[in-house]
């Protein structure tokens, strides 16, 4: 391939070329409520005619992965990533689990396990 008009002429500093609402087809609210730390994992089913953004998001979630991590790998804002992932959950291509509720802050067992884990880290 010789240099041509298809060459990438932007570097990383330019940021994403696609406006966020283009990726989400103009939708601004996720179909399923997701937190930054909600875990998503591919269910194994792949919807037909998946567009590249959804397919890439799905491919990143073969093991349970947080919404924040998917956003970082997709290099999309968290709010945009949530819309894509919520679609995939809605289409049953993914399952999700919300993070622990804040009420568990007084969970002595959890804190002791954390302390134990950090002692070994």
């Amino acid at each position: 391939m010789t240099a041509g008009e298809d060459d990438v002429w932007l570097d990383d500093d330019a940021g994403p070329l696609i406006r966020p609402y283009t990726v989400t087809a103009g939708r601004t609210r996720p179909a399923v409520r997701l937190d930054m730390l909600s875990l998503v994992v591919a269910s194994g089913g792949v919807p037909a005619n998946l567009d590249p953004e959804h397919a890439e998001a799905l491919a990143l979630c073969r093991t349970p992965t947080s919404v924040a991590e998917v956003a970082a790998h997709l290099r999309l804002p968290v709010a945009v990533t949530k819309v894509l992932l919520a679609d995939l959950v809605h289409w049953r291509a993914m399952t999700t689990r919300a993070p622990r509720p804040a009420a568990d802050l007084t969970d002595r067992d959890l804190l002791e396990k954390l302390l134990d884990g950090l002692q070994r880290a």
Partner: protein, 193 residues
Amino acid sequence: MAYNEPEVFPTQVKILIAGGFGVGKTTFVGAASEIEPLSTEELITAASAGTDDLGGVEGKTTTTVALDFGRITIAQHDIVLYLFGTPGQQRFWFMWDELCAGALGAVVLADTRRLDACFDAVDFFENRGTRFLVAVNEFDGAFRYEPDEVRAALELDPRVPIVLCDARDGRSATSALRALIRHLLAAVPAPSA
């Protein structure tokens, strides 16, 4: 197919790493994290600051703010701890509500050369009721203050722990995290016999 096996979801928890601009939050996250710190972006629009709602981005000025985070997996207890370096600039603090929701607590990093840079973070967590400790990042060349001097300068509640740390050193950063967990544990009533 592995896809059809029942998935085991680990328990996910988060701790915030806060402090003024340039105090070493990203360095701290990177030192403690088992992965290279990841960066994500939050969208900010004049219409819908820091919410899930992208409505209005077509017409309004949109900007983004970077959010660095790292991860510590505690495999033996099936826990994943996320460390979020919170954007230091005060104008981004509306984002902190989602970050604070469900957070176990916060480490406020302080630089003794610019203690005033962490006033805002201390105020924010005090007002919000988020439990935190202050970790004095020992920069080379910084004058060493006694913890009591730092406490007085920040007008900290006597119950808020102050620890010294080197944000570049993973063991030191992890030690500050342990101090925070011990602080949190101290507030939990002992199990009734």
